[in-house]
């Protein structure tokens, strides 16, 4: 499995902050900025080690990506899924489908520490 973290986030600044945090713990970071591109990437690209998925995306929502692709495709069974949302209730609703729910605003340190813990031991 590749040590790739796929960040699906439409806001450029947030994406760059998340990327910086995750890159800080030596992941390879791949950025996707909208739902349709994310669908394309998920279907055609190799399954990443970790997905950081924003629930509010243009074209196809994060929730749809999660339920229709990630949860249905066996290639993603081992992928760690973290969803990000500003809506605490929405986050709660998906707790059982994902590994982690992060409520915005997401702390740089928090994300860095979390991803650092998730990284396979032999890699850290």
């Amino acid at each position: 499995m590749s040590q790739t973290a796929l960040i699906i986030e439409d806001d450029e600044d947030l994406a760059s902050i998340f990327a910086e945090a995750i890159r800080g713990v030596d992941f390879e970071v791949e950025l996707v900025a909208d739902g349709r591109m994310a669908e394309e990437r998920l279907k055609n690209g190799p399954p990443p080690f970790l997905i950081l998925l924003d629930m509010h995306l243009p074209h196809i929502s994060g929730a749809d990506l999660l339920m229709n692709i990630i949860k249905k495709d066996e290639r993603f069974t081992k992928t760690i899924v973290i969803i990000t949302t500003a809506d605490a209730r929405m986050g709660e609703a998906y707790t059982e489908h994902v590994d982690f729910v992060m409520i915005k605003p997401i702390s740089f340190v928090q994300l860095r520490d979390l991803t650092s813990r998730l990284k396979p031991k032999e890699q850290s």
Partner: protein, 572 residues
């Protein structure tokens, strides 16, 4: 018959005494007339059948009787047309004259016919005037004296004295009768006056009522809202014209119909129908609410009408006011959409600012000195504050739009406190305040609740406490006061709330004393949101405060222990 007799006897005159006297005279005349007629008939029969009757005497009797009848008729005419006094006096003199010729002077002066003179004396006081009895007594005295002298007897002084005593008695009797009648007339007149006044008052009251009713109708007609008045069985008894425009249907289809007919109208959405059914069934004062009527949104408010008169408080029906709320509803919807969009658009860049500031603080791009780190922390703190304000605004907007709902799921009270500490510990520490918490032993380990909203309530209350506490402790307690309730208590050792401010602290955008707010910041939304959330959860919030000593907020909420999930959660 009676009317005919009345017509014959009554004399129309303004003076009631005069009328009475003349009527009395007429009665006497009628009586004598009848007697005379019988006498005439008797004489005629007598002369026809009796043998040996003296024809001269019979003729004389007939002549006298006819003369009497004519005299009676003449007096009657005088009485009716001219003067009661003249008629009366004539009658009495005629009567006296008849008496004089009816017996021998011997008998008239001291014998069996002497009493005849008492009759005119007595009658005169009644048909002329009370004091006329003296006149008749004098006339009778003269006649008796003259008769006595004519037959060579002495004048009988006792008889004359007797006449005058009788005149005195008649005068007194007649006078008191007249006085009594006079008083009766005064009483009658007063009574008439009272009746007239009352009648007038009644007429005026009726007129006022008519004007009032007309004015009320005019007011009702000019109200832009639709008004329907229902009786206790929900039959529409009154409808104003504006309702037609609001419901777009003729008011004839509503008035005198039952409300349930209107509820079944297809233009009403099913949810609205439910609301209206609920309104009909609740005997308690129903609040106002909105219904969908075709493409319109209507606001309906209903108020029970009570009859407070006669010391009873009986419900006599319901007044409902229908208002076209379509525009307002659209504006409200727009407003909440606007707030939602604005909030989202504001939050996103703030999240970025927060992230970049944190990166500075964490020296991601090279070492930073203490001052730079401190500045990054300040940027973060202010950004977080701004975010909280936006969240509050968003919540408020959602609550106003009725879109904020409570979602129940099993919640662990211990988690609530833990999360609260993770957010608030640092904030309390910065002000050198102690933030402590406890869970009462009686509280179940799991209970049904909206975790995120409970969290928000706790954070808002603690945040509020921190804001208004300069030193001391903020204590949070979760407890179980009754079997079916649980509670949250947040107490501080802060400023306290002045008594007059207490009722206002939960108002939207309310801030306790502008000076304090300027120091502490905030929109004044925190407590308002807490209260609304508590209400949505079916709970209550109370505040107890002493100025200078501190404040305690106590929330009680319905306690439902999640039976099914209890085991699952226990195993976690």
């Amino acid at each position: 018959m009676r009317a005919l007799i009345s017509k014959i006897l009554d004399v129309r005159t303004a003076d009631p005494d005069d009328a009475r006297r003349r009527r009395l005279l007429n009665i006497l005349l009628l009586g004598i007339f009848i007697v005379a007629v019988f006498a005439l008939i008797g004489t005629l029969i007598d002369s026809a059948f009796r043998q040996g009757a003296d024809p001269e005497e019979t003729q004389l009797t007939i002549f006298a009787t006819v003369l009497a009848i004519v005299g009676i008729f003449v007096i009657y005419l005088i009485n009716r047309r001219a003067s009661g006094y003249v008629a009366g006096l004539t009658f009495l003199l005629l009567l006296t004259g008849i008496f004089i010729i009816s017996d021998s002077p011997q008998q008239l002066t001291e014998g069996r016919s002497l009493f005849l003179f008492t009759i005119p004396i007595t009658i005169s006081s009644l048909i002329l005037a009370p004091r006329a009895s003296f006149l008749l007594a004098a006339i009778s005295s003269v006649i008796v004296s003259w008769l006595a002298l004519s037959i060579g007897s002495a004048v009988n002084v006792f008889v004359i004295a007797g006449f005058f005593v009788l005149a005195l008695v008649s005068w007194l009797a007649a006078r008191s009768l007249e006085q009594a009648l006079q008083e009766l007339r005064v009483i009658n007149a007063n009574l008439d006056q009272v009746v007239t006044e009352r009648t007038h008052e009644l007429a005026q009251a009726l007129e006022r009522e008519r004007i009032e009713a007309g004015r009320n109708q005019a007011i009702l007609n000019s109200i832009a809202d639709g008004v329907v008045v229902f009786d206790t069985r929900w039959n529409a008894i009154l409808v104003n014209p504006a309702l037609r425009g609001i419901l777009d249907m003729p008011t004839e289809l509503i008035v005198n119909k039952n409300f349930s007919d209107l509820i079944e109208h297809p233009r009403l959405s099913p949810k609205s129908r439910q609301l209206l059914h609920a309104m009909m069934q609740h005997d308690t004062q129903p609040p106002s609410f909105r219904v969908e009527w075709g493409k319109k949104t209507l606001s309906i408010s209903a108020a029970q009408v009570y009859d407070n008169s006669k010391d009873r408080n009986a419900n006599i029906g319901t007044v409902t006011v229908f208002r076209d709320f379509t525009r307002e509803a659209e504006v409200e919807k727009l407003k909440s959409t606007f707030v939602a969009i604005v909030s989202h658009e504001l939050r996103t860049p703030l999240n970025a600012i927060l992230g970049y500031a944190e990166m500075f603080k964490e020296s991601v791009y090279g070492p930073m000195n203490d001052k730079q780190v401190n500045m990054a922390e300040r940027i973060m703190k202010n950004t977080q504050r701004l975010l909280r304000l936006i969240n509050d605004l968003l919540d408020q907007a959602q609550m106003e739009a009725g879109r904020l709902t409570i979602q129940m799921a099993p919640v662990r009270p211990a988690d609530l406190l833990e999360n609260m500490h993770s957010v608030m510990d640092q904030i309390a520490q910065e002000k050198n305040l102690k933030l402590t918490s406890e869970i009462d032993a009686g509280l179940p380990h799991f209970l049904n609740g909206d975790g995120a909203r409970l969290q928000q309530i706790l954070v808002n209350l603690v945040n509020n406490a921190v804001k208004f506490t300069a030193q001391g402790t903020i204590h949070v307690r979760l407890f179980c006061p009754y079997e079916n309730k649980w509670g949250i208590e947040v107490s501080d050792t802060g400023l306290g709330i002045p008594e007059e401010e207490v009722p206002k602290i939960f108002d939207t955008f309310h801030q306790v004393e502008s000076g304090v707010t300027r120091v502490h910041g905030g929109f004044g939304l925190g407590l308002s949101i807490v209260k609304q959330l508590v209400n949505l959860m079916g709970g209550e919030i109370h505040v107890h405060s002493n100025v200078g000593m501190g404040t305690t907020f106590t929330i009680t909420l319905p306690l439902v222990v999640p039976a099914e999930s209890l085991e699952t959660w226990r195993n976690l």
